[in-house]
């Protein structure tokens, strides 16, 4: 089973467990979206670039503050939530959430998922 299929299958399971996940994208740290399932009208290039930018700034902040490892960035808007997570050395996972639902549980699950994807992606190198 190839990695794309593994990721997609895994994401289907997660979305089934956390139905307020409205969309997701797996992107490279250069901002290129490799796999995604997004709401209609949402540009995967935009999502990829913004995700990579957020995580770069987050890493820089961590480096300058206390050199701790960044786990996630959670962004809240009135109509949606977004979680950006590092996935291995060169990847990032983005989850788009509807505002309802227990986002803290979702974020915890997302961290495990991002680790899982990160290990998968890092094995490719």
């Amino acid at each position: 089973m190839n990695k794309a299929h593994l990721v997609t299958t895994r994401m289907q399971q997660i979305v089934a467990d956390y139905p307020h996940i409205a969309g997701w994208s797996l992107v490279s740290r250069d901002g290129v979206s490799t796999l995604s399932q997004l709401e209609d009208g949402l540009d995967d290039q935009l999502v990829g670039a913004v995700a990579a930018a957020m995580l770069s700034i987050g890493d820089k902040w961590s480096e300058r503050r206390d050199d701790s490892a960044m786990e996630y960035i959670f962004m809240g808007h009135s109509k949606h939530r977004t979680v950006f997570l590092p996935a291995g050395q060169d990847g990032a996972l983005v989850l788009l959430l509807r505002p309802e639902g227990n986002w803290s549980q979702t974020v915890a699950a997302a961290c495990s998922l991002a680790d899982e994807f990160g290990q998968m992606l890092d094995q490719r190198q």
Partner: protein, 185 residues
């Protein structure tokens, strides 16, 4: 288009569009003996202008003679007949020196504008026809070369800004380019 810039895609495009050619380089080298004696007075006029302008005066204060020497050397080099890789590298180094000296890009643009006008006026006064040259042809060659120089110097500013952004944000150059090229709504 010149054959000198085969390894540089950007310079190939620039010279293809603006027409800077090996023939231009021959004209520039031929112009050298006629133009070089006038470069010191052109430089004096240029620095008089910089010293008179309140925004540029602080950048040259206390070191005008040193700057004039460098400027004369640079202008002279434009008519030395050597326009290959070394020439390109020298212009890029000049750009970096301007960035390090914190000279605003506006001043480079204004300076190049001064030189374009000054050279055009100078060429109009020289008896070029007696040397087998035409004012129009030579003016074009000088202007096209100055445009190449300005492009190479300007690139240093862009590179510096991108480097600073990379350093401040941790974003890779590739990510920055991807962000810049996102479709604008």
């Amino acid at each position: 288009m010149s054959n000198l810039y085969i390894s540089r895609v950007d310079l190939q495009a620039l010279t293809s569009i603006n027409g800077l050619s090996d023939e231009d380089f021959r004209h520039l080298a031929h112009l050298g003996p006629m133009v070089k004696p006038h470069i010191p007075s052109m430089t004096d006029a240029f620095y008089d202008r910089l010293q008179a302008e309140p925004q540029t005066a602080p950048h040259v204060a206390g070191r005008v003679e040193q700057l004039k020497t460098t400027h004369i050397a640079w202008l002279t080099s434009l008519f030395d007949g050597q326009y290959g890789e070394d020439f390109v590298v020298r212009q890029e180094r000049i750009g970096k020196a301007h960035v390090v000296a914190k000279i605003p890009p506006l001043f480079v643009a204004a300076s190049m504008s001064f030189l374009r006008a000054a050279f055009t006026e100078l060429l109009d006064k020289l008896a070029l026809e007696q040397a087998g040259e035409s004012v129009g042809r030579c003016s074009g060659a000088v202007l096209r070369l100055l445009d190449l120089c300005q492009y190479l110097i300007d690139r240093a500013y862009e590179e510096d800004r991108l480097d600073r952004l990379v350093d401040a944000t941790g974003m890779s150059r590739k990510l920055l380019e991807n962000l810049i090229s996102l479709n604008q709504r």
